[in-house]
Symmetry: C2
Subunit: 116 residues, 2 copies
């Protein structure tokens, strides 16, 4: 965590590069990729609320309980759940006619750690 030195820049003399590029380790790339995937999945108010509800109930919640919470069709909700599952944030389990969704807590850890 180094502080950037604010040397007042001068217009470059036609040939030299403008600035020293701020290099960053290549390790970060996969890291950033994974975290942005999670963030993207949370980047919709409905999906974020879904995760919130699932977390608050700390158990497995039936899809049929989730549908009436939003002003969207059942198929749209199913689509959002699929995205959350694809991102690894939730998983589901079938019991007869019903599908129960739950949060995979470890999925949010990396992003959470980076943010704080």
């Amino acid at each position: 965590m180094s502080i950037l030195e604010l040397t007042p820049k001068t217009k470059r003399p036609a040939g030299e590069p403008c600035c020293e590029p701020v290099v960053y380790p290549d390790v970060e790339r996969a890291h950033a990729e994974r975290m942005s995937t999670i963030a993207k999945a949370l980047g919709d108010p409905i999906r974020l609320t879904l995760v919130d509800v699932l977390r608050k109930h700390a158990g497995k919640v039936c899809v049929c309980e989730l549908v009436p919470l939003f002003d969207i069709s059942q198929s749209t909700l199913s689509h959002h759940l699929k995205k959350l599952r694809a991102a690894g944030i939730v998983d589901s389990e079938r019991q007869g006619l019903w599908a129960y969704y739950y949060v995979r807590p470890e999925a949010l850890k990396e992003l959470s750690a980076w943010l704080s």
Copy 2:
């Protein structure tokens, strides 16, 4: 934080609602909206890396130092910075020809708190 009771459901008798909806307070709505806006802005690997670099340098970083970090054109980078600014995550300051960007730390607090 209540545990969901897993009463085995029965097929509804044609008229009754399927399930008790899991209600959530209306306060959450604006909350979710704000946080998903932040998450969406972080939902791109380039933007997330930008925020990472800006945070690591804990000061103001010149755009010209950011450009060579990515395999994208200058105008695309400018576009990403604009999105981050629109989300309130970063802000910029002009000094002569150069533009310096920095993270507004409070912008990430709400999402960070929710995630942990």
